[in-house]
Protein backbone atom coordinates (compact mmCIF):
# COMPACT_ATOMS: atom_id res chain seq x y z
CA UNK A 1 0.00 0.00 0.00
CA UNK A 2 2.89 2.38 0.67
CA UNK A 3 5.52 2.06 -2.00
CA UNK A 4 8.85 3.88 -2.32
CA UNK A 5 10.79 3.59 -5.57
CA UNK A 6 14.39 4.68 -6.19
CA UNK A 7 14.46 7.22 -3.38
CA UNK A 8 17.61 9.35 -3.20
CA UNK A 9 18.16 12.20 -0.80
CA UNK A 10 21.05 14.49 -0.03
CA UNK A 11 20.62 17.38 2.40
CA UNK A 12 21.52 20.85 1.26
CA UNK A 13 25.10 21.84 2.18
CA UNK A 14 25.96 18.23 2.88
CA UNK A 15 28.37 16.15 0.80
CA UNK A 16 26.95 12.80 1.86
CA UNK A 17 24.01 11.22 0.12
CA UNK A 18 21.82 9.89 2.92
CA UNK A 19 19.58 7.72 0.80
CA UNK A 20 20.62 6.24 -2.52
CA UNK A 21 18.07 4.52 -4.76
CA UNK A 22 16.18 3.03 -1.86
CA UNK A 23 13.19 0.80 -2.63
CA UNK A 24 10.67 -0.14 0.00
CA UNK A 25 7.20 -1.58 0.22
CA UNK A 26 4.90 -1.58 3.22
CA UNK A 27 1.99 -4.04 3.27
CA UNK A 28 -1.27 -3.54 5.01
CA UNK A 29 -1.42 -4.86 8.60
CA UNK A 30 2.38 -4.96 8.94
CA UNK A 31 4.46 -3.72 11.86
CA UNK A 32 7.74 -2.95 10.21
CA UNK A 33 10.75 -1.92 12.30
CA UNK A 34 13.55 -0.08 10.52
CA UNK A 35 16.95 -0.53 12.15
CA UNK A 36 20.41 0.66 11.33
CA UNK A 37 23.32 2.61 12.68
CA UNK A 38 23.04 6.25 13.61
CA UNK A 39 23.23 8.36 10.48
CA UNK A 40 22.12 5.49 8.26
CA UNK A 41 19.09 7.50 7.13
CA UNK A 42 16.32 5.89 9.21
CA UNK A 43 14.68 9.19 10.15
CA UNK A 44 15.14 10.52 6.63
CA UNK A 45 13.42 7.59 4.94
CA UNK A 46 10.59 7.85 7.50
CA UNK A 47 10.14 11.54 6.70
CA UNK A 48 10.20 10.86 2.96
CA UNK A 49 7.65 8.05 3.36
CA UNK A 50 5.48 10.28 5.55
CA UNK A 51 5.34 12.89 2.83
CA UNK A 52 7.07 15.64 4.79
CA UNK A 53 10.47 15.62 3.10
CA UNK A 54 10.68 15.76 -0.67
CA UNK A 55 13.28 13.30 -2.05
CA UNK A 56 15.75 14.42 -4.72
CA UNK A 57 14.57 11.61 -6.94
CA UNK A 58 12.20 8.68 -6.86
CA UNK A 59 8.60 8.58 -5.82
CA UNK A 60 6.44 7.56 -2.90
CA UNK A 61 2.98 6.16 -3.61
CA UNK A 62 0.16 5.59 -1.20
CA UNK A 63 -2.51 3.45 -2.84
CA UNK A 64 -1.21 4.52 -6.27
CA UNK A 65 -1.21 8.23 -5.44
CA UNK A 66 2.24 9.87 -5.73
CA UNK A 67 2.52 11.87 -2.47
CA UNK A 68 4.88 14.49 -3.88
CA UNK A 69 2.78 15.08 -6.98
CA UNK A 70 -0.36 15.84 -4.97
CA UNK A 71 -1.77 19.30 -4.42
CA UNK A 72 -1.26 20.86 -1.00
CA UNK A 73 -4.91 20.27 -0.18
CA UNK A 74 -4.81 16.56 -1.07
CA UNK A 75 -1.51 16.01 0.74
CA UNK A 76 -2.97 17.73 3.80
CA UNK A 77 -5.92 15.38 3.67
CA UNK A 78 -3.54 12.42 3.62
CA UNK A 79 -1.64 13.82 6.60
CA UNK A 80 -4.83 14.31 8.49
CA UNK A 81 -6.58 11.02 7.72
CA UNK A 82 -4.16 8.47 6.30
CA UNK A 83 -0.65 8.88 7.64
CA UNK A 84 0.02 9.66 11.29
CA UNK A 85 3.58 10.81 11.98
CA UNK A 86 5.24 10.83 15.41
CA UNK A 87 8.47 12.86 15.32
CA UNK A 88 11.49 11.85 17.34
CA UNK A 89 11.31 15.03 19.44
CA UNK A 90 8.17 15.73 21.42
CA UNK A 91 6.90 18.90 19.81
CA UNK A 92 3.84 20.76 21.09
CA UNK A 93 2.12 24.12 20.77
CA UNK A 94 3.22 25.55 24.09
CA UNK A 95 0.19 27.85 24.42
CA UNK A 96 -2.31 24.95 24.62
CA UNK A 97 -2.88 22.27 27.22
CA UNK A 98 -2.33 18.62 26.36
CA UNK A 99 -5.92 17.89 25.35
CA UNK A 100 -6.06 20.96 23.10
CA UNK A 101 -2.69 20.02 21.64
CA UNK A 102 -4.08 16.63 20.65
CA UNK A 103 -7.38 17.87 19.21
CA UNK A 104 -6.80 21.47 18.08
CA UNK A 105 -4.73 20.67 14.95
CA UNK A 106 -7.68 18.77 13.50
CA UNK A 107 -10.29 21.37 14.34
CA UNK A 108 -9.76 24.00 11.67
CA UNK A 109 -12.87 25.03 9.83
CA UNK A 110 -15.19 22.08 10.34
CA UNK A 111 -15.75 21.72 14.07
CA UNK A 112 -18.83 19.52 13.86
CA UNK A 113 -17.05 16.46 15.13
CA UNK A 114 -15.15 18.49 17.75
CA UNK A 115 -16.95 17.03 20.75
CA UNK A 116 -16.39 13.49 19.55
CA UNK A 117 -12.68 14.15 19.04
CA UNK A 118 -12.31 15.50 22.55
CA UNK A 119 -14.03 12.44 23.98
CA UNK A 120 -11.88 10.11 21.93
CA UNK A 121 -8.72 11.94 23.04
CA UNK A 122 -9.74 11.72 26.72
CA UNK A 123 -10.36 8.00 26.33
CA UNK A 124 -6.95 7.40 24.77
CA UNK A 125 -5.21 9.48 27.44
CA UNK A 126 -6.93 7.23 29.94
CA UNK A 127 -5.76 4.06 28.15
CA UNK A 128 -2.14 5.26 28.17
CA UNK A 129 -2.35 6.15 31.87
CA UNK A 130 -2.20 9.96 31.62
CA UNK A 131 -5.94 10.63 31.79
CA UNK A 132 -5.65 13.08 34.67
CA UNK A 133 -3.01 15.18 32.93
CA UNK A 134 -5.27 16.42 30.12
CA UNK A 135 -5.37 20.02 31.33
CA UNK A 136 -1.63 20.34 31.98
CA UNK A 137 0.64 22.28 29.70
CA UNK A 138 3.33 20.43 27.74
CA UNK A 139 6.20 21.76 29.86
CA UNK A 140 4.56 20.26 32.96
CA UNK A 141 4.86 16.72 31.59
CA UNK A 142 7.78 14.27 31.70
CA UNK A 143 9.39 12.99 28.49
CA UNK A 144 7.47 9.71 28.67
CA UNK A 145 4.16 11.46 29.23
CA UNK A 146 4.89 13.82 26.35
CA UNK A 147 5.72 10.91 24.03
CA UNK A 148 2.40 9.25 24.87
CA UNK A 149 0.53 12.48 24.14
CA UNK A 150 2.35 12.78 20.78
CA UNK A 151 1.32 9.23 19.93
CA UNK A 152 -2.33 9.90 20.75
CA UNK A 153 -2.20 13.05 18.63
CA UNK A 154 -0.89 11.07 15.63
CA UNK A 155 -3.48 8.33 16.06
CA UNK A 156 -6.51 10.49 16.85
CA UNK A 157 -7.90 10.51 13.31
CA UNK A 158 -7.36 6.71 13.01
CA UNK A 159 -4.87 6.89 10.12
CA UNK A 160 -4.18 3.78 8.02
CA UNK A 161 -0.45 4.07 8.59
CA UNK A 162 1.41 5.28 11.67
CA UNK A 163 5.02 6.28 11.21
CA UNK A 164 7.03 6.61 14.44
CA UNK A 165 10.57 7.91 14.71
CA UNK A 166 12.17 6.18 17.70
CA UNK A 167 8.95 5.70 19.69
CA UNK A 168 10.64 4.24 22.79
CA UNK A 169 14.05 5.89 22.84
CA UNK A 170 14.91 7.50 26.15
CA UNK A 171 11.95 5.99 27.98
CA UNK A 172 11.93 3.63 30.94
CA UNK A 173 11.02 0.00 30.26
CA UNK A 174 7.53 0.24 31.66
CA UNK A 175 6.54 3.26 29.60
CA UNK A 176 8.16 1.78 26.51
CA UNK A 177 6.16 -1.37 26.97
CA UNK A 178 2.93 0.59 27.35
CA UNK A 179 3.58 2.39 24.10
CA UNK A 180 4.45 -0.82 22.28
CA UNK A 181 1.32 -2.54 23.52
CA UNK A 182 -0.72 0.44 22.41
CA UNK A 183 0.85 0.37 18.93
CA UNK A 184 0.39 -3.38 18.64
CA UNK A 185 -3.27 -3.10 19.62
CA UNK A 186 -3.66 -0.46 16.97
CA UNK A 187 -2.07 -2.72 14.34
CA UNK A 188 -4.38 -5.53 15.29
CA UNK A 189 -7.32 -3.31 14.47
CA UNK A 190 -6.19 -3.56 10.83
CA UNK A 191 -3.73 -0.67 10.62
CA UNK A 192 -0.10 -0.52 9.57
CA UNK A 193 2.88 0.60 11.66
CA UNK A 194 6.32 1.71 10.57
CA UNK A 195 8.90 2.58 13.21
CA UNK A 196 12.58 3.46 13.19
CA UNK A 197 14.26 2.05 16.28
CA UNK A 198 17.31 0.74 18.12
CA UNK A 199 15.15 -0.93 20.74
CA UNK A 200 15.08 -4.75 20.78
CA UNK A 201 11.61 -4.72 22.30
CA UNK A 202 10.28 -2.93 19.26
CA UNK A 203 12.04 -5.34 16.96
CA UNK A 204 10.52 -8.21 18.89
CA UNK A 205 7.09 -6.77 18.48
CA UNK A 206 7.51 -6.13 14.75
CA UNK A 207 6.27 -8.46 12.04
CA UNK A 208 9.22 -7.48 9.87
CA UNK A 209 12.57 -5.90 10.54
CA UNK A 210 14.26 -3.94 7.78
CA UNK A 211 17.92 -3.14 8.25
CA UNK A 212 18.70 -0.13 6.16
Amino acid sequence: MLLAENISKRYKNSRRTVLEKVNFKLEEGEFCAITGESGSGKSTILAVLAGILRPDSGKVCLDDADLYALSDKDLSYIHQRKIGYVPQANIFLKQYNILDNIVFPYLSGDTKNGQELFERARAHLEILGIGDLWDRYPYELSGGEQKRACLIRALLMKPQIVICDEPTTGLDGKTGKKILTYLDEYRKSGKTILAATHDDHVKACATRVWNI
Binding site: I52, L53, S76, H79, A89, I91, L93, F104, L107
Partner: protein
Protein backbone atom coordinates in the same frame (compact mmCIF):
# COMPACT_ATOMS: atom_id res chain seq x y z
CA UNK B 1 -12.71 24.27 27.73
CA UNK B 2 -13.30 27.17 25.43
CA UNK B 3 -12.96 26.32 21.77
CA UNK B 4 -13.65 29.66 20.23
CA UNK B 5 -11.55 30.62 17.27
CA UNK B 6 -10.94 34.12 18.60
CA UNK B 7 -9.67 32.65 21.82
CA UNK B 8 -7.11 30.57 19.94
CA UNK B 9 -6.05 33.65 18.01
CA UNK B 10 -5.25 35.57 21.17
CA UNK B 11 -3.53 32.53 22.69
CA UNK B 12 -1.33 32.27 19.62
CA UNK B 13 -0.50 35.97 19.79
CA UNK B 14 0.24 35.77 23.51
CA UNK B 15 2.49 32.74 23.04
CA UNK B 16 4.92 34.98 21.18
CA UNK B 17 4.20 37.85 23.49
CA UNK B 18 7.47 39.73 23.47
CA UNK B 19 7.92 40.09 19.72
CA UNK B 20 4.22 40.70 19.19
CA UNK B 21 4.38 43.47 21.80
CA UNK B 22 7.35 44.98 19.95
CA UNK B 23 5.38 44.74 16.71
CA UNK B 24 2.38 46.40 18.32
CA UNK B 25 4.56 49.19 19.72
CA UNK B 26 6.20 49.78 16.33
CA UNK B 27 2.84 49.99 14.56
CA UNK B 28 1.48 52.23 17.31
CA UNK B 29 4.37 54.68 17.03
CA UNK B 30 4.27 54.64 13.21
CA UNK B 31 0.54 55.44 13.20
CA UNK B 32 0.85 58.10 15.90
CA UNK B 33 3.59 59.90 13.95
CA UNK B 34 1.72 59.66 10.66
CA UNK B 35 -1.48 60.95 12.22
CA UNK B 36 0.22 63.82 14.03
CA UNK B 37 2.15 64.95 10.97
CA UNK B 38 -0.95 64.69 8.76
CA UNK B 39 -3.01 66.80 11.16
CA UNK B 40 -0.23 69.36 11.61
CA UNK B 41 0.16 69.69 7.84
CA UNK B 42 -3.58 70.09 7.38
CA UNK B 43 -3.78 72.68 10.14
CA UNK B 44 -0.92 74.74 8.76
CA UNK B 45 -2.38 74.63 5.25
CA UNK B 46 -5.83 75.67 6.42
CA UNK B 47 -4.27 78.45 8.50
CA UNK B 48 -2.38 79.59 5.43
CA UNK B 49 -5.46 79.59 3.21
CA UNK B 50 -7.34 81.60 5.76
CA UNK B 51 -4.49 84.02 6.09
CA UNK B 52 -4.77 85.13 2.46
CA UNK B 53 -8.23 86.48 3.16
CA UNK B 54 -7.03 88.96 5.70
CA UNK B 55 -3.92 90.29 4.01
CA UNK B 56 -6.25 92.28 1.85
CA UNK B 57 -4.34 95.48 1.13
CA UNK B 58 -1.42 96.41 -1.09
CA UNK B 59 0.43 98.38 1.52
CA UNK B 60 0.07 99.28 5.15
CA UNK B 61 1.61 102.39 6.67
CA UNK B 62 2.74 102.16 10.27
CA UNK B 63 4.78 104.46 12.54
CA UNK B 64 8.53 104.38 11.95
CA UNK B 65 10.15 101.52 13.86
CA UNK B 66 6.92 99.54 14.15
CA UNK B 67 7.39 97.51 10.96
CA UNK B 68 8.21 94.25 12.73
CA UNK B 69 5.48 94.70 15.29
CA UNK B 70 2.97 95.31 12.53
CA UNK B 71 4.08 92.22 10.61
CA UNK B 72 3.79 90.12 13.75
CA UNK B 73 0.35 91.50 14.27
CA UNK B 74 -0.75 90.57 10.77
CA UNK B 75 0.76 87.10 10.84
CA UNK B 76 0.39 85.93 14.39
CA UNK B 77 -2.01 88.48 15.81
CA UNK B 78 0.47 89.22 18.58
CA UNK B 79 -0.56 92.17 20.72
CA UNK B 80 1.39 95.26 19.84
CA UNK B 81 0.59 98.91 20.02
CA UNK B 82 2.07 101.68 17.94
CA UNK B 83 0.56 105.00 17.12
CA UNK B 84 0.88 108.10 15.02
CA UNK B 85 -1.24 111.17 14.73
CA UNK B 86 -4.75 110.74 13.36
CA UNK B 87 -4.32 113.64 10.94
CA UNK B 88 -1.94 111.50 8.89
CA UNK B 89 -4.83 109.51 7.51
CA UNK B 90 -6.51 112.61 6.10
CA UNK B 91 -3.29 113.71 4.47
CA UNK B 92 -2.49 110.35 2.95
CA UNK B 93 -5.95 109.38 1.71
CA UNK B 94 -6.14 112.21 -0.77
CA UNK B 95 -2.83 111.37 -2.44
CA UNK B 96 -3.05 110.66 -6.16
CA UNK B 97 -2.88 107.00 -7.19
CA UNK B 98 -4.60 105.64 -4.08
CA UNK B 99 -7.81 103.73 -4.86
CA UNK B 100 -8.98 103.17 -1.32
CA UNK B 101 -7.61 103.61 2.17
CA UNK B 102 -8.73 103.02 5.70
CA UNK B 103 -7.24 103.36 9.17
CA UNK B 104 -7.27 101.21 12.30
CA UNK B 105 -6.33 101.72 15.91
CA UNK B 106 -5.07 98.86 18.07
CA UNK B 107 -5.31 98.78 21.82
CA UNK B 108 -3.23 96.29 23.72
CA UNK B 109 -5.03 94.35 26.43
CA UNK B 110 -6.79 97.01 28.36
CA UNK B 111 -6.48 95.92 31.98
CA UNK B 112 -3.80 93.87 33.68
CA UNK B 113 -1.72 91.53 31.56
CA UNK B 114 -4.12 88.66 31.97
CA UNK B 115 -7.75 88.57 32.75
CA UNK B 116 -10.65 86.24 32.37
CA UNK B 117 -12.49 88.10 29.66
CA UNK B 118 -9.52 89.95 28.23
CA UNK B 119 -9.76 90.91 24.61
CA UNK B 120 -7.78 92.74 21.99
CA UNK B 121 -9.56 95.86 20.90
CA UNK B 122 -9.42 97.25 17.37
CA UNK B 123 -11.16 100.43 16.25
CA UNK B 124 -11.86 100.67 12.55
CA UNK B 125 -13.77 102.91 10.22
CA UNK B 126 -16.82 101.10 8.76
CA UNK B 127 -17.23 103.85 6.16
CA UNK B 128 -13.91 103.25 4.43
CA UNK B 129 -13.15 99.72 5.56
CA UNK B 130 -12.07 97.06 3.07
CA UNK B 131 -9.94 94.97 5.42
CA UNK B 132 -12.27 93.75 8.16
CA UNK B 133 -15.26 93.12 5.90
CA UNK B 134 -13.83 90.22 3.87
CA UNK B 135 -13.13 88.13 7.00
CA UNK B 136 -16.67 88.24 8.26
CA UNK B 137 -18.00 84.73 8.52
CA UNK B 138 -21.46 85.17 9.92
CA UNK B 139 -23.51 88.33 9.79
CA UNK B 140 -26.05 89.24 12.41
CA UNK B 141 -27.03 92.68 11.12
CA UNK B 142 -26.31 94.63 7.97
CA UNK B 143 -24.76 97.76 9.34
CA UNK B 144 -22.45 98.70 12.14
CA UNK B 145 -23.65 101.71 14.03
CA UNK B 146 -23.44 103.23 17.47
CA UNK B 147 -21.87 100.88 20.00
CA UNK B 148 -22.27 97.73 17.90
CA UNK B 149 -19.23 95.47 17.46
CA UNK B 150 -17.79 92.73 15.26
CA UNK B 151 -16.03 89.96 17.18
CA UNK B 152 -13.23 87.50 16.53
CA UNK B 153 -14.08 83.84 16.15
CA UNK B 154 -13.22 82.67 19.64
CA UNK B 155 -15.14 85.36 21.51
CA UNK B 156 -18.21 83.97 23.21
CA UNK B 157 -21.37 85.84 22.29
CA UNK B 158 -24.29 85.46 24.68
CA UNK B 159 -27.74 86.55 23.53
CA UNK B 160 -26.21 88.55 20.74
CA UNK B 161 -24.12 90.74 23.04
CA UNK B 162 -20.72 90.78 24.72
CA UNK B 163 -19.91 92.41 28.05
CA UNK B 164 -16.87 94.63 28.35
CA UNK B 165 -15.96 97.09 31.11
CA UNK B 166 -19.41 96.71 32.64
CA UNK B 167 -21.15 97.62 29.38
CA UNK B 168 -23.11 95.47 26.94
CA UNK B 169 -22.26 95.73 23.26
CA UNK B 170 -24.52 94.21 20.58
CA UNK B 171 -22.63 91.95 18.16
CA UNK B 172 -23.43 92.37 14.47
CA UNK B 173 -21.00 89.91 12.95
CA UNK B 174 -18.42 87.26 13.71
CA UNK B 175 -15.10 86.92 11.87
CA UNK B 176 -13.81 83.73 10.28
CA UNK B 177 -11.32 81.78 12.36
CA UNK B 178 -7.73 82.79 11.74
CA UNK B 179 -5.92 80.46 14.09
CA UNK B 180 -4.04 83.41 15.60
CA UNK B 181 -4.59 85.70 18.56
CA UNK B 182 -6.75 87.89 16.34
CA UNK B 183 -9.54 85.42 17.07
CA UNK B 184 -9.97 87.06 20.45
CA UNK B 185 -10.28 90.60 19.11
CA UNK B 186 -13.28 92.90 19.25
CA UNK B 187 -13.79 95.38 16.42
CA UNK B 188 -15.39 98.67 17.39
CA UNK B 189 -16.42 101.50 15.18
CA UNK B 190 -13.96 104.36 15.38
CA UNK B 191 -16.61 106.76 16.70
CA UNK B 192 -17.08 104.80 19.91
CA UNK B 193 -13.41 105.10 20.87
CA UNK B 194 -13.79 107.89 23.43
CA UNK B 195 -16.69 106.09 25.15
CA UNK B 196 -14.95 102.71 25.26
CA UNK B 197 -11.79 104.28 26.63
CA UNK B 198 -13.76 106.16 29.26
CA UNK B 199 -15.51 102.95 30.41
CA UNK B 200 -12.22 101.09 30.47
CA UNK B 201 -10.68 103.79 32.60
CA UNK B 202 -13.64 103.71 34.96
CA UNK B 203 -13.11 99.97 35.46
CA UNK B 204 -9.48 100.58 36.37
CA UNK B 205 -7.78 99.50 33.13
CA UNK B 206 -4.27 100.75 32.60
CA UNK B 207 -4.12 103.17 29.65
CA UNK B 208 -1.23 105.11 28.21
CA UNK B 209 -1.26 108.86 27.94
CA UNK B 210 -1.72 108.85 24.19
CA UNK B 211 -4.56 106.35 24.42
CA UNK B 212 -6.35 108.64 26.87
CA UNK B 213 -5.79 111.73 24.80
CA UNK B 214 -7.11 110.18 21.58
CA UNK B 215 -6.53 111.58 18.14
CA UNK B 216 -4.32 108.65 17.20
CA UNK B 217 -4.26 105.86 14.61
CA UNK B 218 -2.10 102.76 14.41
CA UNK B 219 -2.03 102.06 10.73
CA UNK B 220 -3.30 103.09 7.33
CA UNK B 221 -4.22 100.33 4.87
CA UNK B 222 -3.95 101.36 1.24
CA UNK B 223 -4.99 99.80 -2.07
CA UNK B 224 -3.45 101.41 -5.11
CA UNK B 225 -5.07 102.18 -8.42
CA UNK B 226 -4.08 99.59 -10.99
CA UNK B 227 -2.18 102.09 -13.09
CA UNK B 228 -0.44 103.75 -10.12
CA UNK B 229 3.29 103.19 -9.49
CA UNK B 230 4.11 102.11 -5.95
CA UNK B 231 7.40 104.04 -5.75
CA UNK B 232 5.72 107.21 -6.95
CA UNK B 233 2.91 106.94 -4.39
CA UNK B 234 5.35 106.23 -1.56
CA UNK B 235 7.46 109.18 -2.61
CA UNK B 236 4.42 111.44 -2.44
CA UNK B 237 3.49 110.03 0.98
CA UNK B 238 7.02 110.75 2.12
CA UNK B 239 6.82 114.31 0.90
CA UNK B 240 3.39 114.82 2.50
CA UNK B 241 3.92 113.46 6.02
CA UNK B 242 7.71 113.30 6.33
CA UNK B 243 9.99 110.44 7.39
CA UNK B 244 7.77 109.16 10.19
CA UNK B 245 6.44 105.93 8.69
CA UNK B 246 7.41 102.40 7.71
CA UNK B 247 5.76 100.37 4.97
CA UNK B 248 4.48 96.83 5.35
CA UNK B 249 3.55 94.81 2.26
CA UNK B 250 0.87 92.35 3.38
CA UNK B 251 0.79 90.49 0.07
CA UNK B 252 4.54 89.98 0.24
CA UNK B 253 4.15 88.72 3.77
CA UNK B 254 1.83 86.17 2.33
CA UNK B 255 4.56 85.00 -0.01
CA UNK B 256 7.14 84.80 2.76
CA UNK B 257 4.62 82.98 4.90
CA UNK B 258 4.06 80.48 2.13
CA UNK B 259 7.84 80.06 2.09
CA UNK B 260 7.85 79.36 5.81
CA UNK B 261 5.00 76.95 5.38
CA UNK B 262 6.77 74.91 2.74
CA UNK B 263 9.92 74.92 4.87
CA UNK B 264 8.03 73.64 7.91
CA UNK B 265 6.06 71.04 5.99
CA UNK B 266 9.32 70.03 4.33
CA UNK B 267 10.87 69.38 7.74
CA UNK B 268 7.75 67.58 8.93
CA UNK B 269 7.90 65.44 5.77
CA UNK B 270 11.56 64.58 6.18
CA UNK B 271 11.04 63.56 9.79
CA UNK B 272 7.98 61.52 8.84
CA UNK B 273 9.73 59.73 5.99
CA UNK B 274 12.88 59.04 8.02
CA UNK B 275 10.99 57.67 11.01
CA UNK B 276 8.54 55.88 8.73
CA UNK B 277 11.43 54.17 6.93
CA UNK B 278 13.05 53.17 10.21
CA UNK B 279 9.80 51.81 11.54
CA UNK B 280 9.18 49.79 8.38
CA UNK B 281 12.61 48.22 8.84
CA UNK B 282 11.60 47.41 12.42
CA UNK B 283 8.33 45.91 11.17
CA UNK B 284 10.28 43.65 8.83
CA UNK B 285 12.59 42.66 11.69
CA UNK B 286 9.77 41.81 14.12
CA UNK B 287 7.73 39.96 11.50
CA UNK B 288 10.79 37.89 10.63
CA UNK B 289 11.49 37.13 14.30
CA UNK B 290 7.87 36.22 15.01
CA UNK B 291 7.66 33.90 12.01
CA UNK B 292 11.04 32.36 12.81
CA UNK B 293 9.69 31.55 16.26
CA UNK B 294 6.61 29.94 14.74
CA UNK B 295 8.40 27.82 12.15
CA UNK B 296 8.22 24.63 14.17
CA UNK B 297 4.61 25.23 15.14
CA UNK B 298 3.64 25.75 11.50
CA UNK B 299 5.57 22.63 10.43
CA UNK B 300 3.84 20.58 13.12
CA UNK B 301 0.40 21.76 12.02
CA UNK B 302 1.20 20.94 8.41
CA UNK B 303 2.32 17.43 9.38
CA UNK B 304 -0.98 17.02 11.19
CA UNK B 305 -2.92 18.02 8.10
CA UNK B 306 -3.48 21.77 8.19
CA UNK B 307 -3.40 23.15 4.64
CA UNK B 308 -1.03 25.92 3.67
CA UNK B 309 -3.95 28.14 2.76
CA UNK B 310 -5.54 27.77 6.20
CA UNK B 311 -2.23 28.44 7.92
CA UNK B 312 -1.56 31.54 5.83
CA UNK B 313 -5.05 32.80 6.62
CA UNK B 314 -4.59 32.17 10.33
CA UNK B 315 -1.18 33.84 10.45
CA UNK B 316 -2.43 36.82 8.45
CA UNK B 317 -5.40 37.29 10.75
CA UNK B 318 -3.06 37.35 13.75
CA UNK B 319 -0.95 40.03 12.08
CA UNK B 320 -4.16 41.81 11.11
CA UNK B 321 -5.48 41.91 14.66
CA UNK B 322 -2.19 43.27 16.01
CA UNK B 323 -1.86 45.82 13.22
CA UNK B 324 -5.41 47.07 13.45
CA UNK B 325 -5.37 47.48 17.20
CA UNK B 326 -1.90 49.04 17.10
CA UNK B 327 -2.78 51.62 14.50
CA UNK B 328 -6.13 52.53 16.09
CA UNK B 329 -4.55 52.98 19.51
CA UNK B 330 -1.70 54.94 17.92
CA UNK B 331 -4.07 57.34 16.15
CA UNK B 332 -6.20 57.83 19.28
CA UNK B 333 -3.10 58.51 21.32
CA UNK B 334 -1.86 60.99 18.75
CA UNK B 335 -5.28 62.66 18.71
CA UNK B 336 -5.06 63.05 22.46
CA UNK B 337 -1.87 65.08 22.07
CA UNK B 338 -2.41 66.93 18.78
CA UNK B 339 -5.89 68.28 19.44
CA UNK B 340 -5.69 69.66 23.01
CA UNK B 341 -2.23 71.07 22.31
CA UNK B 342 -3.23 72.52 18.91
CA UNK B 343 -2.89 76.16 19.93
CA UNK B 344 0.45 75.47 21.58
CA UNK B 345 1.79 73.69 18.47
CA UNK B 346 0.66 76.63 16.31
CA UNK B 347 2.41 79.06 18.65
CA UNK B 348 5.60 77.01 18.49
CA UNK B 349 5.60 77.19 14.68
CA UNK B 350 4.69 80.88 14.85
CA UNK B 351 2.28 80.20 12.03
CA UNK B 352 -1.47 80.46 11.68
CA UNK B 353 -2.79 77.06 12.70
CA UNK B 354 -6.34 75.84 12.20
CA UNK B 355 -7.12 72.33 13.41
CA UNK B 356 -9.25 70.11 11.15
CA UNK B 357 -12.91 69.40 11.81
CA UNK B 358 -13.93 66.24 13.64
CA UNK B 359 -15.12 64.61 10.41
CA UNK B 360 -11.87 65.40 8.63
CA UNK B 361 -9.83 64.09 11.56
CA UNK B 362 -11.81 60.83 11.49
CA UNK B 363 -11.25 60.51 7.75
CA UNK B 364 -7.52 61.06 8.26
CA UNK B 365 -7.54 58.42 10.97
CA UNK B 366 -9.38 55.96 8.73
CA UNK B 367 -6.87 56.46 5.92
CA UNK B 368 -3.94 55.97 8.28
CA UNK B 369 -5.50 52.85 9.81
CA UNK B 370 -5.92 51.35 6.34
CA UNK B 371 -2.49 52.45 5.17
CA UNK B 372 -0.57 51.20 8.21
CA UNK B 373 -2.47 47.91 8.38
CA UNK B 374 -1.76 47.35 4.71
CA UNK B 375 1.96 48.07 5.22
CA UNK B 376 2.09 45.72 8.18
CA UNK B 377 0.34 42.92 6.31
CA UNK B 378 2.53 43.45 3.25
CA UNK B 379 5.75 43.36 5.27
CA UNK B 380 4.62 40.15 6.96
CA UNK B 381 3.42 38.27 3.88
CA UNK B 382 6.92 37.38 2.70
CA UNK B 383 7.81 35.75 6.01
CA UNK B 384 4.45 34.01 6.24
CA UNK B 385 4.90 32.55 2.76
CA UNK B 386 8.41 31.43 3.65
CA UNK B 387 7.40 29.78 6.91
CA UNK B 388 4.53 27.88 5.28
CA UNK B 389 6.69 26.64 2.40
CA UNK B 390 9.65 25.21 4.32
CA UNK B 391 9.77 21.39 4.21
CA UNK B 392 8.04 20.42 7.46
CA UNK B 393 10.61 17.81 8.40
CA UNK B 394 13.50 20.27 8.03
CA UNK B 395 11.69 22.88 10.13
CA UNK B 396 11.10 20.32 12.87
CA UNK B 397 14.67 19.09 12.83
CA UNK B 398 16.27 22.50 13.00
CA UNK B 399 14.47 23.21 16.22
CA UNK B 400 15.28 19.85 17.80
Amino acid sequence: MSRKKGNNLFKNIASHGFYNACLLATILILSAILFASAVIRQSLNTGMKNMKKRLGSDIMLVPKGAKENAEDLLLEGSRNTFYFDASIYEKVSSIDGIAESTSQIFLKSLSADCCSSEVEIVFFDPETDFVVGPWIEEEYAKTLSGNQVIVGNSITVENGVIRLFGQEYPVVAKMAKTGTALDSSVYFSKETMPDVIAHAEEKGSFLTKEQLEGGIISSVFINLRSEAKLEKVLETVHQTIGDIFDVVYPKQLNTSLAGNLSRITGIVDIITYALGGLLIVLLLLFHSLIMKGRKQEVALLRILGRTRKTLIRELLSEVGVISLSGTIIGCLFSMLIVFPFGTYIGMQFQMPYLGPSFAKALLTMLLIVLFVSAISLLTSILFILHVTHVEPYLALRREE
